[in-house]
Amino acid sequence: MYNENIFDYMRTEKLPHIWCPGCGHGIITASIVRAISNLKLDKNNIAFVSGIGCSGRTPGYLDFNTLHTTHGRSLTFSTGIKMAKPKLKVINVLGDGDALAIGGNHFIHACRRNIDITAIIYNNSIYGMTGGQFSPTTPDGFIASTTPYGNCDPSFDVVKLASAAGASFVARGDAFHVLQLDKILQKAIDHKGFSVVDVLTTCPTQLGRRNKMKKPWENLDYIANQTVSIKKYETMSENEKQGKFPIGIFIEEKRDEYVETYTKRVINKAKGRK
């Protein structure tokens, strides 16, 4: 389970990657590769798409059909790929700003259509690459370069947003509980329909440094303290729930997939087939 060589799926000549020492993005990337390897998918049948930001660097290191697109619009490119070549497995990685701020509109509409794409959100609660501005998921009271007195904006709950918008697979994992993340990603990639995985990760350079978590493992420990399983979360009181993130699979249901529906109801009719 662990020892399959993850470098088989990587462009090793591009390594070491550009992410900072202790950045959680590398942990998630390795987890995605293990999930794909466990599913025994063919490299040539995977399209790996990303937007802009630290997370946008991911396809550069992976040896699939990769595409690095514009900020926030990666889901639209993915939709295009899936419509044109429905046989490809499309995996889309987004950052938290990429998915929820700049691409918020594209995100909810991709959820609504339930098109067969796996959206993996690298949620590090900050705009890391551009200098540590606060993002839609920065926790309450956290200091970022643009919130020197602490963040007072309420943050997005990705899971609630995606479920309300209509995604048929919604889960949350984190960079601390890696084995669980492997399993969640495996199910998400295997799922037919739009699957969203919110992965909590760290940014020791921009978020940790300003919030008394200078060491990379202090950031991971913070995530470990803030996450609870869904079962435990349900038994907690309202006060205890403050600031905690339930992890696990929230929604997993079968629903009509967009490419199939579109082929049946539009393309076939336009071509005169029944």
């Binding site: 470098f7 959680g24 890696v178 991971l220």
Partner: protein, 80 residues
């Protein structure tokens, strides 16, 4: 006779010295050397939990199960 053990494959060119593996190792197998790169100092103590491998953000460490000759292993455990 052979005894089961673990070998730590460390890619020094990939290691950035963040120290996550050293911090989370339950058996203190790993240490940072003077170059700020990870080295397996006490591989005989390794229990094969793979936490270092799973949490390494730089893909720099891989733990592999292998069979050691028993004589060698005894020497290492005596020292420990």
């Amino acid at each position: 006779m052979t005894k089961k053990g673990f070998v730590h494959k460390i890619h020094k060119n990939l290691c950035k010295g963040c120290g996550i593996c050293v911090h989370y190792c339950p058996k203190n197998v790993l240490e940072m050397n003077h170059d700020n790169k990870v080295v397996a100092k006490r591989p005989a103590d390794c229990i094969g939990c793979h936490l270092c491998e799973l949490r390494c953000p730089d893909f720099a460490i891989q733990v592999e199960a292998c069979d050691f000759p028993d004589a060698n292993n005894k020497k290492v455990t005596k020292k420990g």
